[in-house]
């Protein structure tokens, strides 16, 4: 088991080093998410006090759209220079490869959420009541998005139409996460925190299901020639 964790860390470290050096997430994905937040403000007319009420939903839509780029990129780097062959030849456990890639995506998503959350706080004028619930919701939603994203990322990997196919495959799947995360954040930002528990459970179940799916399914998907 420790071997699996060590291998997963190896893969995650590799992916995060690629990100640290190429700076695609910081230079492109983050600004893109910021632009989405601004566009929502334009579309919904900030003067009418609508923004604070719908802020959680807008936040998670922005995370989802930006996260899509992150996932797409995590598997695009494997498609170039036959890197996926190298990954197969490395002898790493496919489950570890999945956990590593999902972990790296999760770290990027968390970074994205921190920055977007700050922007939300400043731009949309929201008040935080339950910090713990907010963080718990974000952690579970991130785990679910990263796991499901990695499963579908590898399904669409290496195809010429990857950029258009991945959103169609992934967005319906993660719809429950978006719904649950939005309800949880609504409860944490102004509603009654007790309302959030069913949604927290939904997110935990979702993250668990897709993590198991990825661990099981990565073997057959990686061994293909």
């Amino acid at each position: 088991m420790s071997g699996l964790a060590a291998q997963a860390l190896l893969v995650a470290g590799k992916d995060l080093r690629i990100e640290a050096r190429s700076r695609v997430v910081t230079n492109q994905v983050l600004p893109f998410a910021g632009v989405i937040l601004l566009l929502f403000a334009f579309a919904l007319d900030p003067d009418r006090g609508l923004l604070p009420r719908v802020a959680p939903g807008l936040f998670w839509v922005a995370v989802l759209l930006a996260g899509l780029l992150s996932v797409s990129r995590a598997f695009a780097v494997e498609a170039e220079n036959a890197a996926s062959d190298g990954l197969r030849l490395s002898g790493l456990d496919p489950a570890a490869v999945f956990l590593g890639k999902a972990g790296a995506v999760a770290v990027q998503l968390l970074a994205l959420e921190v920055v977007l959350g700050a922007a939300l706080f400043v731009l949309y004028d929201v008040e935080v009541q339950g910090v713990g619930l907010l963080l718990l919701g974000a952690a579970l939603a991130t785990a679910g998005l990263a796991a499901a994203g990695s499963v579908y990322g590898v399904l669409a990997a290496g195809l010429r139409v990857r950029e258009t196919l991945l959103p169609l495959l992934l967005l319906p799947v993660v719809a429950p996460v978006m719904l649950a995360a939005t309800r949880t954040w609504e409860a944490a930002l102004g509603g009654t925190p007790a309302d959030a528990w069913p949604w927290v459970q939904v997110m935990a179940a979702f993250a668990a299901i897709y993590t198991v799916t990825g661990v099981v399914a990565f073997g057959p998907l990686l061994e293909e020639s």
Binding site: L155, R160, V161, L165, L168, L169, A175, A217, P220, S225
Partner: protein, 261 residues
């Protein structure tokens, strides 16, 4: 070019299965129309709009069944010991039909919702999870169209199908898990066989289920055969191209020794 029947998949053995299923499907659908539109009385509260139940509910059940077959075929393909292209063809054929039946369910449900609920669409758990199911398998079909290599396509789409199938129980139990505008299960409340419908209506509904299932079986057999033929066609075109190239090469080969000597 005259084609011999050497390729087994190219010239099918004539079977009676598909025609018999087709005629049965047509006949049972006609009986369903008569039953649902004339024989069974209109609903006390909803009037004639309720007659949509005899097609809407069977369509939904068939969507479950079709995606269940897809999941089964996908699992059998992924499992090494039963890996065979026929399971992939089965999964693909059934998924297409499942999308059709899901679309039919949504469309008929909208037509029913308008007079009874006052709206075509409402943001309700059952409706939304069904719509998600529709898009999940549209994505599956899109994935199938995009991957060229047969084995790679079969594996990837099998995983996608199994993941997408996880939404089917969510759709089914959505009316019990969340407070929903959509009514709860009438045939199997709380998982027990305890129909809450009046006799004639129940018969029409069950007949609808039989008629739709036969229709599904007929379409599945036809679609599976089509998938088989498509694969055979690809092989045959390749064979024909190879044969042509060889035919072009032969005169040159025959002439070559003469010029050489």
């Amino acid at each position: 070019m005259e084609q011999a029947t050497s390729n087994g998949s190219a010239r099918p053995p004539r079977t009676w299965v598909a025609p018999v299923l087709g005629v049965t499907a047509l006949g049972s659908l006609a009986v369903l129309a008569v039953l649902g539109l004339w024989v069974v009385p209109p609903d006390a509260l909803q009037g004639d709009a309720q007659r949509l139940m005899y097609v809407h509910v069977p369509a939904a059940w068939l969507a479950y069944l079709a995606f269940g077959i897809t999941a089964l075929g996908s699992a059998l393909y992924l499992w090494r010991r039963t890996r065979h292209p026929k399971w992939d063809r089965l999964a693909a054929s059934s998924a297409e039909l499942g999308v059709v039946f899901t679309g039919l369910t949504l469309g008929l449900g909208m037509l029913w919702g308008r007079p009874v609920w006052g709206v075509y669409w409402t943001w309700d758990a059952r409706l939304v999870t069904t719509a998600v199911l529709f898009f999940l398998f549209l994505g599956y079909l899109a994935l199938r169209r995009m991957v060229a290599d047969p084995d790679r396509r079969a594996r990837r789409s099998a995983v996608a199908a199994l993941v997408a199938f996880a939404d089917v129980p969510v759709v089914h139990f959505s009316v019990e898990w969340w407070r929903s505008l959509h009514q709860e299960s009438s045939i199997l409340p709380d998982g027990r066989l305890d129909p809450q419908i009046e006799g004639d209506m129940l018969i029409a509904l069950l007949w609808g289920l039989v008629a739709m299932t036969v229709t599904y079986a007929y379409l599945l057999v036809r679609r599976y055969r089509l998938a088989e033929l498509e694969e055979g066609l690809e092989e045959r075109l390749l064979d024909a191209a190879l044969a042509e190239r060889r035919a072009e090469g032969e005169p040159a080969l025959a002439a070559a020794p003469g010029t050489g000597a």
